[in-house]
């Protein structure tokens, strides 16, 4: 199949070079072939393949020597088995959750291995939490070649992953290429791909692990799904059902979530149909029963304004309570690592640099929005309201765990999430 785009369209930019090719230079080539090589000599491709084999064999040999040395150390007096190899300075080791007898120490990155995870919290400037996020099943599997990471929102992406101390990075991810009707899912796929191929720091938050890099953060919760039963690869083109239904199961951390790759009949009562549907009808705002704990790094002391995450509510306008589209994890993240950064996460996520000036929160640029279609107009309106509120330069009052932002007759109260 030729993939060249629209050959009948002369205005196709991909064809703009057509007809401008240089003249035939065969005689010059023949002449040149009789002279010395002038540019890079080319290594025969078939021989190049020997190099990785040689390197692989050398690495295997070194590994075998290392394993033998460790075994010899441990067999001396029996205490060796309790010994843990010296960790590089700054690395973190943590008891693996559920590890029997406390015998297994793992770095945060190692804790990801061989498990399924669901996303219970995330923040980025690109992707909002929405009905789809909790449906993404993230799997770290073991393979003969090393650990691999796979995830699926619309398309399934997988690739080898480096798990070192408290760092995680996926390399050479490959993806299926299904057409998805929902642009949200496509965007989510794309963003997750970018996120996981960027090196992330891993931090332990109770049972959860939080991966953080320049693109944002993702908080993962382990599931009970056996890794031996990987996400099925969906080869059908999904038709997404959009409207929210009250019957939809809301996954609870620890429960087995329905995989986004699973294809369910549109309506069992109507018999099987050629078209399959994937159910993404979790009502927005209820995807996470409780908003996850703060993942923003705490400021020194943890009692200041910066470096905390605040749960918004209640909100009053002219003394009267403004209804919030509940429960909505509308969090205000004041990030300590990038002090002067506020992130509002309602329907559309939005983050922007801010500064505190004379007791007022001043946005240094317009509050961007991912401008995604939300399932609720009220939620979209609420986003707009918040953007307008923050833009108006609210005064900041901090009292213990309570943060009050006031702009004219509009008052937003937020509580520190511990």
């Amino acid at each position: 199949m030729t993939n060249r785009s629209d050959p009948k369209n002369p205005s196709d930019p991909m064809r703009s070079l057509d007809g401008h090719e240089p003249a035939n230079q065969w005689s010059e080539i023949v002449e040149r072939s009789n002279g010395p090589m002038t540019l890079d000599p080319i290594v025969e491709p078939s021989r190049r393949h020997l190099l990785p084999i040689i390197l692989g064999a050398a690495a295997a040999l070194l590994l075998a020597i290392g394993v033998a040395a460790v075994a010899m150390t441990g067999s001396g007096d029996g205490k060796g088995k309790q010994q843990v190899a010296a960790q590089p300075e700054g690395s973190t080791t943590t008891m693996m959750p559920g590890a029997a007898n406390g015998g297994v120490l793992a770095t945060p990155a190692q804790m990801l291995r061989g498990r399924h995870w669901i996303i219970v919290g995330m923040a980025s400037q690109v992707v909002t939490t929405g009905a789809q996020v909790d449906q993404v099943l993230i799997t770290f599997e073991e393979s003969p070649e090393g650990p691999t990471l796979s995830f699926q929102a619309c398309n399934r992406t997988s690739g080898p992953v480096d798990l070192l101390d408290n760092r995680v990075k996926m390399t050479n991810g490959v993806s299926t290429e299904m057409a998805c009707e929902d642009q949200l899912l496509m965007d989510l796929d794309h963003w997750l791909g970018q996120f996981f191929t960027t090196a992330s720091d891993v931090r332990v938050d109770g049972d959860n692990l939080t991966l953080t890099n320049d693109l944002g953060y993702i908080t993962l919760h382990p599931t009970d799904v056996a890794v031996a039963n990987p996400i099925p690869t969906d080869t059908t083109t999904p038709v997404l059902s959009k409207p929210a239904t009250p019957e939809t199961t809301v996954p609870v951390p620890g429960d087995t979530p329905s995989s986004p790759g699973q294809v369910t009949p549109a309506d069992p009562g109507q018999g099987s149909t050629a078209t399959t549907e994937r159910d993404f009808t979790v009502p927005l705002g209820t995807v996470v029963p409780e908003c996850p704990p703060s993942t923003a790094p705490a400021a020194p002391g943890g009692d200041g304004l910066w470096g905390n995450r605040w749960r918004v509510g209640p909100v009053t306008v002219n003394g009267a309570a403004r209804d919030m589209v509940a429960p909505v994890c509308s969090d205000l993240v004041l990030n300590a690592t990038k002090q002067g950064f506020v992130f509002v996460n309602g329907c559309n996520g939005a983050g922007v640099k801010v500064r505190l000036e004379g007791g007022r929160l001043v946005l240094e640029e317009a509050l961007p929005s991912t401008a995604m279609g939300c399932m609720s107009q009220e939620l979209m309106d609420q986003d707009v309201w918040f953007a307008d509120f923050l833009t108006s330069g609210p005064t900041v009052t901090l009292a213990g765990d309570s943060l009050t932002l006031t702009a004219g007759d509009r008052v937003v109260t937020a509580t520190r999430i511990r």
């Binding site: 930019p13 040149r32 090589m37 080319i42 993806s175 290429e177």
Partner: protein, 195 residues
């Protein structure tokens, strides 16, 4: 070697003509291969490397080396495409190093002077391609500009077809934006640089 029954891509055409020439002398095989692939290969190299001069030089050198090697090369088509890209990459690197040494790093993003001999639409394409990653540029150049399919492009790039498809999807999405929204802003940017 038999010609595939699918719609011929440049490389399949190349294989076909090469197989027709089997049994004749090596020079004739390489010549037919050259004539079949020089146009798409040049387009791909220009779209990827932004320099028509580098593209011409890389094609000439790659086929000259092919002639020199004789029939020790098992797959002349793959060899020619892959080596042309590698030769061009080396040449571009040398040119960039020279430019950085004499002009400073700020000038590295400027288009090579020889691009100006291309039509405006092609310059827009080359400018937009410059916004893509290296791998995305290679994929677009091989598939969308030269007409290869993903598996063939993957062989040339020494990667998997899935990787090519993913990179293509991302590149096309980005190019759609760049080519529909940015011509004006690209022109503006060019004019801003004028004193």
């Amino acid at each position: 070697m038999t010609a595939p029954t699918d719609k011929p891509t440049p490389r399949r055409r190349l294989r076909a003509v090469a197989s027709e020439g089997e049994g004749s002398d090596w020079t004739a095989q390489v010549k037919t291969a050259y004539e079949a692939s020089r146009a798409p290969l040049w387009r791909a190299l220009v779209a990827w490397g932004r320099s028509p001069d580098v593209a011409e030089e890389a094609i000439a050198e790659s086929f000259a080396q092919l002639l020199r090697r004789g029939d020790s090369v098992r797959d002349p088509a793959a060899w020619a495409w892959r080596s042309a890209f590698r030769i061009a990459a080396g040449d571009l690197k040398r040119r960039r190093t020279r430019a950085a040494r004499s002009l400073g790093d700020d000038h590295l993003d400027l288009l090579p002077a020889d691009v100006t001999r291309l039509p405006d639409e092609a310059i827009d394409l080359v400018r937009a391609m410059a916004q893509l990653s290296e791998q995305q540029r290679q994929c677009v150049a091989l598939v969308d500009v030269a007409g290869h399919d993903a598996p063939t492009a993957a062989q040339i790039l020494d990667t998997s077809a899935a990787t090519v498809r993913v990179q293509l999807m991302r590149a096309r999405r980005r190019l759609r934006t760049l080519l529909t929204d940015e011509p004006q802003s690209l022109n503006d940017r060019t004019e801003e640089k004028k004193p």
